[in-house]
């Protein structure tokens, strides 16, 4: 995929192109990927490397990197342990007194051009591309400089131009991608005088490596480093001593880098869609509870008021009844009093009449 085409892949084209998947066995079900079938690669044979540093020199030249402080012919630098840095895409280290080895051993370090590059998986601007020829290339025109690719790379390959204030770049081996496109060999492979580096299609290199291991079982360990490490790499290594003796990590596992983050990434849409549903639900429930509490309170208040009113009314009626009764009693009393008085008066009258009847006679 060329850089311009990759750039062209915006949001929609990147997403929409996904609809074409599943057309071949490679993508069947979208679960198993085996990488580009025609991927190129390099086989590094640690039993052949003589530590001449010619590859370092060639790499420096073809990539137009700044000249080193000490010349490439100076083999004294092999005393120390070096790594790739912003001015060096590849280094060769010497390992002495390795058990089982007759003399010192050497190993070349450079980008392994992983089949599933951790650096590309980690970059949040897609500055890295895995090309169909196997090369993992970097596009400095978009790089923000977050250096997450450096965190991610299990082989500790990408380096950063910490010295530059305005245009710092990630620096790493390009597999001589521009040269490959022109049909040329990578600089380091071309110059190697010991044929420690074999260039070819990765699947052929695996065969070559296996043949060598079979032909010389005493010379090699039965393992091709990079066949499965981190999901496989385009650059492969075979050796006669355990790989850890050459400073290579044996605990990387076979899980390709994108697989490591897949789980976490797949939780993102779940949270983004289910959280609003759950939270709005919780909100609605708490609102409802509040509303019910409000209503219950209102109802309780109303009831209390009604009860008070009813009580007041009852008291009122009672009072009224009592008043009525009192009134009636008063009337009765009055009537009785009047009747009594009337009777008394009548009696007096009749008594007076009787007396009057007696007197005139």
């Amino acid at each position: 995929m060329s850089i311009s085409r990759r750039r062209f892949l915006g949001w929609l084209s990147a997403a929409g192109a996904g609809t074409t998947l599943g057309r071949s066995a490679h993508a069947a079900g979208g679960t198993h990927f085996t990488g580009y079938p025609d991927s190129l690669g390099v086989l590094f044979d640690a039993t052949r490397c003589i530590g001449c540093r010619k590859c370092e020199e060639a790499c420096n030249k073809v990539n137009e990197l700044p000249a080193p402080q000490k010349p490439f012919s100076d083999l004294a630098v092999l005393e120390g342990r070096r790594r790739t840095d912003a001015k060096t895409y590849t280094v060769v280290n010497r390992y002495e007194n390795v058990p089982g080895a007759k003399g010192p051993l050497y190993r070349k370090i450079q980008c392994n051009h992983c089949l599933e590059p951790a650096c590309a998986s980690a970059c949040f601007v897609r500055a890295f591309a895995k090309n169909s020829n196997g090369a993992v290339t970097y596009d400095e025109s978009v790089c923000v400089g977050c250096r997450y690719c450096m965190i991610a790379c299990p082989f500790e390959i990408p380096t950063y131009e910490y010295d530059k204030a305005f245009t710092p770049r990630i620096m790493k081996c390009t597999f001589c991608h521009p040269r490959l496109l022109k049909g040329q060999l990578p600089g380091c492979v071309e110059i190697c005088p010991a044929e420690a580096l074999t260039f070819g299609k990765r699947r052929n290199l695996l065969k070559i490596a296996r043949e060598r291991i079979e032909l010389f079982p005493g010379r090699y360990l039965d393992h091709i480093y990079g066949e499965t490490e981190m999901g496989g790499t385009a650059w492969l290594t075979i050796s006669g001593v355990p790989f850890r003796e050459l400073g290579m990590r044996e605990d990387l596992g076979t899980t390709p880098a994108p697989e490591l983050t897949k789980g976490a990434l797949s939780v993102v849409p779940v949270v983004a869609s289910m959280w609003p549903v759950l939270l709005t639900g919780v909100y609605a429930i708490s609102q409802r509870r509040e509303k019910i509490a409000r209503e219950e309170q209102a109802a309780a208040v109303a009831e209390a008021v009604a009860k008070a009113q009813a009580e007041a009314k009852a008291k009122h009626t009672e009072a009224m009844a009592k008043a009525e009764k009192d009134k009636k009693a008063a009337i009765d009393r009055e009537v009785k009093k009047a009747l009594d008085e009337a009777a008394k008066a009548k009696a007096q009258e009749s008594a007076a009449a009787a007396a009057a009847d007696k007197k005139p006679s």
């Binding site: 997403a15 996904g18 993508a27 085996t34 994108p258 609605a284």
Partner: protein, 57 residues
């Protein structure tokens, strides 16, 4: 060659890009759907609408 996905990284690039678009669409959709869902309520539950008397301490 153009249409086949050879690497898990490429595959995820495509699925994840689509996922992000779907997430944005879903979040916008939720707002409208919730409003539709609670429009006829007594005015306390829908987002962004007036909540007379509601939402106080």
């Amino acid at each position: 060659m153009e249409n086949v996905i050879y690497t898990l990284h490429d595959f995820m690039l495509r699925t994840e890009s689509l996922t992000y678009i779907l997430i944005v669409a879903a979040l916008c959709g939720f707002i409208f759907f919730w409003r539709f869902l609670s429009e006829r309520d007594d005015g306390r539950d829908h987002l962004g609408a007036d909540r007379p008397g509601g939402h106080h301490r």
